[in-house]
């Protein structure tokens, strides 16, 4: 089990836990979700990532039962959910504001869902203390929500939503209110808990780093559509569009004209500039307009033209962003195109090789760039 990689989406025999089938959701004239079809599998940690207003929260609220699709169907474990109210779903949600009940203690908050199920008192007590242990909140059971810190409140919200052992847990920007350090710790805690409980998690976030850290698969959304669904590594290394490449991490986009050459394309992007070459299996069709997406960390920077580099362009350093461990150099090419290259700061700052207005060479291999339709 430990050797096999978790990829149920590649196994056609796997039954998905959640199925969106041609789901459309409109609010008046506004289309929040546009004819969306997507499968999510059991035990996945599925992240919905996108800018605000892209429909990710609507998608989650439809899973929770707080919104109903205008068209299409949502199936959970094969059952059509269209007429099932939130209180009848084996789905629990962790709210963005945590929505802890201010008049109840931490214990009572976590016990709330169990009491509604009509569980006996010892059963409830056992389950709640289990949840308190899992989220390391034993000491705070008798406190009220306003008497604990933001990080603890977030854990109470998680414990409360996990108490009923839902098939599916929805997390709406769960870490948004925490500061960065606490957020990183909590991300690993979340992954740990997800693994321990074996619950399927669907998380909504606009923080790409968070999505990349926790998720087994990331769905990048834009204007009510899912643009790409893939593992974090694939989203980063093999974006399927300029939108995804641009949304995730830092990237150079070079637009140009492509002509087939060998196992890839030659790209001309400016008059007089050298042709760039990129290997790809993508077929651009007859049009030939394309965009090259190159991550800055894959662009090397050197004073002289490197002898063996497939792609090398010359330019002038306009700006240097010093980030401590690395520096990002903003280099302007002859045609005005800006390209960012990164170099590790292996030497002390005062002995830095390049400075403003230096003329430098940028180079990258033929596999560094991703060829996208322009």
């Amino acid at each position: 089990m430990s050797d096999t990689v978790f990829t149920p989406w590649d196994d056609p025999g796997q039954e998905p836990l959640i199925q969106f089938k041609n789901v459309t959701k409109r609010f008046g004239d506004f289309t929040a979700i546009d004819n969306l079809t997507q499968d999510i599998y059991a035990k996945e940690f599925f992240a919905l990532l996108g800018p605000s207003g892209c429909g990710k929260t609507t998608m989650m609220r439809m899973l929770g039962g707080f919104e109903t699709p205008t068209e299409g169907q949502i199936l959970i474990a094969g059952q059509d959910m269209s007429n099932v109210p939130p209180n009848k779903r084996a789905v629990n949600m962790m709210f963005q504001s945590y929505a802890l009940f201010p008049h109840l203690s931490i214990f009572e908050n976590i016990a709330f869902g169990l009491k509604r199920e009509g569980k006996s008192k010892p059963e409830i007590e056992e389950r709640v203390s289990e949840m308190l242990r899992l989220t390391r909140l034993e000491k705070f059971a008798r406190r009220k929500p306003h008497q604990i810190s933001g990080g603890q409140r977030q854990r109470v919200a998680l414990a409360r939503s996990l108490a009923k052992a839902p098939k599916l847990l929805l997390l709406d920007e769960p870490l948004g209110a925490l500061d960065k350090k606490l957020r990183q710790d909590t991300q690993f805690e979340l992954m740990d808990i997800q693994e321990k409980t074996g619950t399927t998690f669907v998380i909504v976030t606009h923080d790409q780093e968070e999505a990349m850290t926790v998720a087994s698969r990331v769905a990048v959304m834009d204007e009510g559509r899912i643009v790409q669904v893939a593992t974090p590594a694939d989203i980063y290394e093999k974006p399927n569009s300029v939108y995804v490449a641009d949304f995730i991490g830092d990237v150079n986009i070079i637009e140009g004209h492509a002509t087939r050459a060998g196992d890839g394309y030659d790209i001309t992007f400016a008059l007089g500039a050298p042709k760039l070459h990129a290997k790809t299996s993508t077929d651009l069709g007859p049009e030939g307009k394309c965009a090259l997406a190159i991550r800055p960390e894959k662009v090397s920077i050197s004073a002289k033209k490197p002898a063996k580099a497939v792609n090398a362009v010359e330019g002038e350093i306009i700006d240097i962003a010093y980030l401590g461990n690395i520096s990002t150099y903003h280099v302007q090419l002859a045609g005005g195109q800006m390209v960012k290259g990164q170099a590790a700061n292996t030497q002390r700052l005062e002995r830095r090789q390049f400075t403003w207005e230096d003329r430098v060479w940028l180079s990258w291999t033929d596999t560094a760039a991703v060829v996208l339709e322009g």
Partner: protein, 297 residues
């Protein structure tokens, strides 16, 4: 110094407008009736010096309070007032809560208008509004005409000059005092809490009882006191809408003052009324205090 000056303002206010008048009333309640102007003795004569002061205090006694226990009219009036005030408060809560709830649920752009509609009656004189109820409730009034017209009743209902009319009048008059604090509490309520309750297995009705009601408790308690306290000492409404058998302490007080011109007994009635009111006022303030502590900073 600045802080002292700031605190001094409300204390000075209380001293001049509450404590001093109360001491005057208390003094009159301890005096004896007299055919004079003012109609009681003793009066403080400072020119007599130390002896005069001593004679003044020697003349004060608790006779009037004793008198209140000898006639069962008084305790019956207190009891009946408490009953009418309590029942009116309950009715105002039953009517006011749904209104406040509806206001809090209404779209944002409607809320100022709805709020205005609740406050609007205050722009008309209270007396005129009570008089207009006489026009509505009387035997030939609008309500009876309407009921006869619809055929619901064959004879006009006797509402005016009964306790029913008093309840209607009190609930009508003090309803805004019930609505506004409840609305304030409900408006603050985060709708995500109700979604969370539903998410955890509550139906909408259970969520209302388990979340909405407890979280609007402070508003309910504030509203109840704001209705109960003035209703207890109410005079105008029972005098205009109530019948001869409507027994309320406010009416008794008025009659002692203006019909009997027995200021000392009237003052004693007022002092006892205040004592009765102080209990709910203290409870009310305790509740506010507890609420503040529970909500934290």
């Amino acid at each position: 110094m600045r802080r002292f000056a700031l605190i001094a303002v409300p204390y000075l206010w209380l001293l001049v407008l509450f404590l001093v008048p109360f001491i005057i009333v208390l003094k009159i309640s301890l005096s004896d009736i007299a055919l004079a102007i003012p109609p009681y003795t003793p009066t403080l004569d400072l020119s007599a010096g130390w002896e005069g002061l001593r004679a003044f205090f020697a003349a004060l006694d608790l006779e009037n309070f004793w008198f209140l226990t000898t006639d069962d009219l008084y305790w019956k009036a207190y009891l009946s007032s408490l009953q009418i005030a309590a029942l009116s408060t309950l009715l105002a809560l039953l009517v006011g809560y749904p209104i406040a709830y509806g206001m809090a649920q209404a779209p944002d752009e409607w809320r100022p208008t709805l709020m205005m509609l609740v406050i609007l009656p205050f722009w008309t004189s209270f007396l005129i509004r009570v008089y207009s109820w006489m026009g509505i409730l009387s035997k030939e009034g609008f309500l009876n005409q309407f009921l006869l017209w619809t055929g619901l009743v064959s004879e006009p209902l006797e509402i005016l000059n009964t306790n029913t009319a008093v309840y209607i009048g009190i609930v009508y008059t003090y309803l805004p005092f019930m609505i506004l604090p409840i609305y304030a509490a409900l408006e603050k309520l985060d709708s995500a809490l109700l979604e969370a309750a539903e998410d955890l297995g509550c139906s909408r009705i259970t969520a209302f009882w388990l979340i909405t009601v407890p979280l609007s408790k402070s508003g309910i308690i504030a509203g109840c006191f704001l209705v109960f306290i003035p209703a207890l000492g109410e005079f105008v409404i029972p005098a205009l809408l109530g019948g001869s058998d409507t027994l309320m302490i406010g009416k008794v007080l008025w009659e002692e003052f203006f019909s009997n011109r027995d200021w000392p007994v009237a003052s004693a009635v007022a002092v006892i009324l205040l004592m009765i009111l102080i209990v709910p006022i203290i409870l009310f303030q305790r509740n506010e205090q507890k609420q503040r502590e529970a909500e934290g900073p």
